[in-house]
């Protein structure tokens, strides 16, 4: 489903080029749950961004369902993300001026779904936030915000879910709750999940693990 071929990423840091990710190739099958682990600065988040089309590789190609996304323009990428990819960030990145309900509804509205309101309510029920739907992010705890972010990521029923340190900003109790949600999603929907994490417990939920260090793959299990 997701295919990376000799993908690398180099940025200019000051006056010097800095290789964040050395050329790597990777195949992720449909329905697979893969965890990407590694220390800070190993290139995990960069790899995730390349898969999501949030960033462009310096070399190589990324294909999703056979479509080379590195050749797509910004608007086509946005459309792809809306249809096929859900993203959960470490710092939630909810839109502060929208309620929890509205945050979840936004991707469906972008896609032109007519039943956005009903589906948004259902998703919030799924993540256990029925009574908090009309609160603003500033009125929610970290755990609640991340659950809203997860509901938002699932809004258009994407076949792919990407998560960048989803429990990195949560306490252990909330972190476990999020872990359970990821597990349930994988089991019930068969969603392909690519998860970047430091959390060993969360990584243990995955079918496969990819370890990175200094921008290189050091282990695949």
């Amino acid at each position: 489903m997701i295919s990376l071929r000799e993908v690398s990423k180099t940025v200019i840091s000051g006056a010097e080029p800095l290789t964040i990710l050395h050329p790597l190739s990777l195949d992720i099958d449909r329905g697979q749950f893969i965890a990407i682990v590694g220390p800070s600065g190993s290139g995990k988040s960069t790899l995730l961004g390349l898969i999501a089309g949030l960033d462009a590789p310096s070399s190589g190609a990324v294909a999703i369902d056979g479509v080379d996304i590195t050749r797509l323009g910004e608007d086509a990428l946005a459309k792809l993300r809306g249809e096929k990819i859900g993203f959960v960030f470490q710092f939630f990145h909810l839109i502060p001026s929208l309620t929890a309900f509205e945050n979840v509804a936004v991707p469906m509205e972008i896609a032109g779904a007519r039943d956005a309101r009903q589906r948004a309510q259902r998703l919030l029920d799924e993540v256990g936030l029925t009574g908090r739907a009309h609160h603003y992010p500033s009125q929610l705890s970290g755990g609640e915000q991340q659950r809203v972010a997860l509901a938002r990521a699932l809004a258009n029923n994407p076949p792919i879910l990407l998560a960048d340190e989803p429990t990195g900003n949560l306490d252990s109790a909330n972190g476990r709750h999020i872990m359970e949600l990821f597990r349930d999603i994988h089991r019930s929907r068969g969603t392909t999940i690519v998860l970047v994490t430091h959390d060993a417990d969360l990584a243990s939920l995955a079918d496969a693990r990819l370890s990175l260090r200094d921008g290189r793959v050091v282990e695949r299990t």
């Binding site: 960069t46 993300r81 502060p96 509205e109």
Partner: protein
């Protein structure tokens, strides 16, 4: 579309408080345009529909000479051919009036009008106190006067006044006469007498400035032809015919000009609002960058996101414009209240309304300006990358072709809007280019000043150091505040300085040795007696002399450059064809100097004339040219032998465009004028005038002190109007300032939180704010005041032709007040920055 609409509503809901100044700025500008245009339109509706009433007839035929039998028969014939249904005649002349009771020592210049029973043919003459007007009130030496004459002479209804050599009884007080309120400046209050009583006043003597008018009612379908035919018949005579339509057209043109000029002023205010919009939008987009990145991550395209904010801008622009229309309506409703129920001025008779077309125009401009000024900042949305959420990367500026194209488009669109408002592409271009140039100069000056104070970043005072650093930090509002507040200070200080210059200039003219009174219409046979009267010290007159004057018209020029063979050719040159008052003498006056040729010495039988420099330059009449004059029917060909530069502001000897060499005109019928220094004391002046008019009833007295008082009054009203507009500009600037402070408050709150955790107390942070805004205000005031100095120089030199003067006190006051205003607003708007607890702020980050 649902997404775009939904997001626009939600974004507005979340940020309306931050954006409130956005639409208040637009509202102020739209209110200015709608109110100013509506006032003009409302006044025009009254006057435009009443042109007939303004001239009290369909057609006017007028002359400053006696009607000749030929002229009368021509007029009779033309009126009969045109099917005229009514006619009446009037005679108007300025003259002196005094109480018949010699114990009342007073005299006053009035505008005397002798009327026949049919007057007016349109409109009505109304009297005070509900007294019905009837021509019978004027018969047998009755008079109707304006109320101000009663108080000036200390008389009442029933008392007698002397006009010329005859006494008239005041039988009523005039409340309103058709067409009277149009003039801004009149020589004196109106007095009506019976047409048949006019000869008895002995004012219709040689040299009198009386204007004789035939008023006629003529059917519309023959009116224009009749007027054209009459003007053709009298092309070489001192007779002019016009219709109410010419008045209508003239009024229409004047009102068009006024409306377009004032709406341009309103547009400048809207543009200032637009600058606020641009600033607000820029900061708004900066604050929304993460949200925009998230939306792109969720599948929204740049186009969809831009559409959200464009919709928000349009909605706010529309809301602001509607608010502006509401403010305009309130302002218009307040005009009658401000004028008072007893006001008899024209403005009090107008019904002020906001025409829906003007409202629509104002709303369109408000929305357009909002859109145009937010377009360029909104384009930044395209450059927001969703990878920002993963990596905090700085966006490289790069060259953005779309941004440059948008700026070009916005500039062109603004010029188009200005041209639309001014009804002239040229005027629109001038306004836009002038505004841009002014803004550029202000910004450049501001940048220079900021650089100059940068060394203060090393000052020992912590608050001062950081205040100076803040002026040039990323995302600062320095430019916008300098521009908006600086512009307001520029207008207000500039206008007030100009006013002081003009008043100062006028004051100079009535200095110790200057003539401050002019006597007119002195007959030849009165010269000796007048000299004796003026020489008699008991009468109180200072130095004086009598100057002979004649009225002349140019009927041809044979010159090196200019050749005009007939009066028609002269008429084609516009003002050259007017009637001139000429004199003859063998010396130059103190306010003249020869700039070309040679002034004569002694009389000559060959007519020679000296020409004023301005006329020589305007019409290319040069040394050696021969100018043909018609003086009371006699043709005189005079050779130009010198060009004089005349200081018309020095009134000691008047100012003559043409001065003849003695020898040619002594025998021609002429009158005399006498500039003189009147008594200093106001009572003594009144006594002098009274005695003079009692002895010489046909002589008119123009008192400069009264004229200057009237001129000062008019000038102060004009200055007030301009100052009000400048005040509106400054008010807009203040709003922009408040908006700018509000928009960057989030930054200040965060900084204040960090400073507080590092040990700074509330007082220190307050000082930082005070210094920062104080310095900004100082810069804006300094830049605005410096610009005002340049403005007064340019206007004094090129428009008003008066000496340029600087009034340091006004400029310093301008700088001081601007500094205080900006500092006060800046600190007051940031009070919650001082009050917020740091932890909550840092956690939110």
């Amino acid at each position: 579309m649902r997404f775009v609409l939904g997001m626009a509503v939600r974004e507005t809901r979340a940020s309306w408080q931050r954006l409130i100044f956005f639409f208040v700025c637009i509202a102020v500008g739209v209110a200015a345009i709608v109110a100013l245009r509506s006032v003009i339109r409302s006044v025009r509706d009254v006057l435009g529909g009443e042109a007939r009433s303004l001239i009290a007839a369909d057609a006017l035929i007028s002359t400053t000479r006696d009607w000749t039998p030929t002229a009368r028969s021509t007029i009779d014939r033309r009126l009969a051919d045109a099917g005229s249904t009514a006619r009446t005649e009037t005679i108007e002349t300025p003259t002196m009036v005094r109480p018949s009771d010699s114990s009342k020592v007073a005299a006053r210049m009035v505008e005397l009008k002798a009327i026949q029973p049919g007057f007016p043919l349109y409109g009505s003459l109304t009297l005070e106190g509900g007294q019905p007007y009837s021509h019978a009130l004027l018969e047998h030496h009755g008079a109707l006067v304006r109320p101000e004459l009663l108080s000036a002479l200390g008389v009442n209804v029933g008392d007698s006044i002397a006009i010329g050599t005859t006494n008239f009884v005041i039988r009523g007080v005039v409340a309103n006469e058709p067409g009277r309120n149009l003039g801004a400046l009149s020589l004196g209050p109106r007095v009506f007498v019976d047409f048949d009583d006019m000869p008895s006043t002995q004012l219709l003597i040689f040299g009198s400035r009386a204007r004789r008018v035939v008023l006629a009612r003529v059917p519309d379908n023959t009116l224009d032809d009749m007027v054209s035919a009459l003007n053709q018949d009298f092309s070489d005579d001192y007779i002019n015919a016009r219709s109410y339509r010419a008045t209508d057209d003239a009024i229409g043109r004047d009102f068009d000009r006024a409306e377009n000029y004032l709406s341009l002023v309103g547009l400048v205010i809207v543009i200032l609002g637009g600058i606020a919009v641009s600033s607000v939008t820029r900061v708004f987009v900066l604050q929304k960058i993460r949200a925009i990145a998230v939306l792109k991550c969720l599948g929204a395209s740049s186009r969809q996101i831009i559409a959200v904010y464009v919709l928000q801008v349009v909605s706010l622009g529309l809301a602001g414009s509607l608010l502006g229309v509401g403010i305009a309506r309130l302002a218009l409703a307040g005009i009658p209240l401000a004028l008072g129920p007893t006001s008899t001025s024209l403005l009090a008779q107008v019904h002020y309304t906001v025409d829906w077309r003007i409202a629509l125009q104002g709303i369109t401009i408000g929305v357009l300006v909002s859109l145009l000024f937010s377009l360029v900042p909104l384009l930044e949305v395209r450059r927001v990358k969703p990878s920002l959420l993963l990596r905090d990367e700085t966006r490289r500026p790069g060259r953005d072709v779309a941004r440059i194209a948008a700026m070009v488009f916005v500039s062109a669109a603004l010029i188009a809007v200005a041209a639309w408002q001014a009804a002239s592409l040229r005027a629109g271009l001038v306004v836009c280019v002038g505004f841009a140039a002014l803004a550029f100069v202000l910004l450049l000056a501001g940048r220079l000043l900021v650089r100059m104070i940068t060394p203060m970043a090393n000052a020992p005072s912590f608050p001062l150091r950081h205040a100076v650093l803040h002026l040039s930090r990323p995302g600062n509002q320095t430019r916008v505040i300098l521009l908006a507040v600086g512009l307001g200070a520029f207008f207000i200080v500039g206008v007030r300085s100009l006013q002081s210059s003009l008043l100062d200039e006028f004051n100079l003219q009535v200095s110790a040795d200057s003539a401050d009174m002019f006597l007119l219409d002195i007959q030849r046979n009165q010269v000796d007696e007048m000299r004796q009267f003026l020489a008699d010290a008991t009468n109180g007159a200072g130095s004086s002399r009598l100057i002979p004057v004649l009225r002349a018209r140019i009927t041809g020029v044979s010159g090196r450059v200019t050749t005009l063979d007939s009066f028609e050719d002269v008429r084609a040159r516009g003002s050259l064809a007017r009637e001139y008052t000429v004199t003859y003498r063998d010396h130059l006056e103190a306010n003249e100097k020869v700039v070309d040729g040679r002034f004569w010495n002694g009389p000559s039988s060959e007519p020679e004339v000296s020409v004023e420099k301005g006329l020589h330059e305007r019409f290319a009449i040069n040394i050696g040219d021969v100018v043909r004059f018609d003086i009371l029917g006699r043709t005189i060909n005079a050779r130009v032998t010198s060009i004089r530069d005349v200081d018309f502001k020095d009134a000691r000897a008047g100012g003559f465009v043409f001065v003849f060499r003695p020898g040619a005109l002594e025998q021609a019928p002429q009158t005399y004028i006498a500039p003189l220094k009147g008594p200093d004391d106001a009572n003594a002046r009144a006594v002098f005038q009274h005695k003079l008019v009692a002895k010489f009833p046909n002589v008119s007295v123009i008192d400069f002190h009264e004229i200057l008082a009237t001129v000062r009054d008019v000038m102060s009203k004009v200055t007030l109007a301009i100052t009000v507009v400048g005040g509106l500009v400054l008010f807009s600037g203040a709003l922009i300032l408040i908006g700018a402070v509000a928009m960057t408050k989030f930054q200040r709150v965060y900084e204040a939180a960090v400073f507080k955790t590092l040990g700074a107390n509330t007082r220190t942070i307050a000082k930082m704010l005070l210094f920062e805004y104080g310095v900004l205000g100082l810069l804006a005031g300094a830049v605005g005041s410096a610009g005002a100095v340049a403005l007064t120089w340019g206007v004094s030199r090129y428009a008003l032709d008066i000496p340029w003067k600087v009034f340091p006190a006004e400029h310093l006051a301008g700088v001081g007040l601007t500094t205080a205003l900006v500092a006060a607003i800046g600190v007051l708007s940031s009070l919650d920055v001082l009050r917020n607890k740091p932890l909550a702020t840092l956690r939110a980050e």
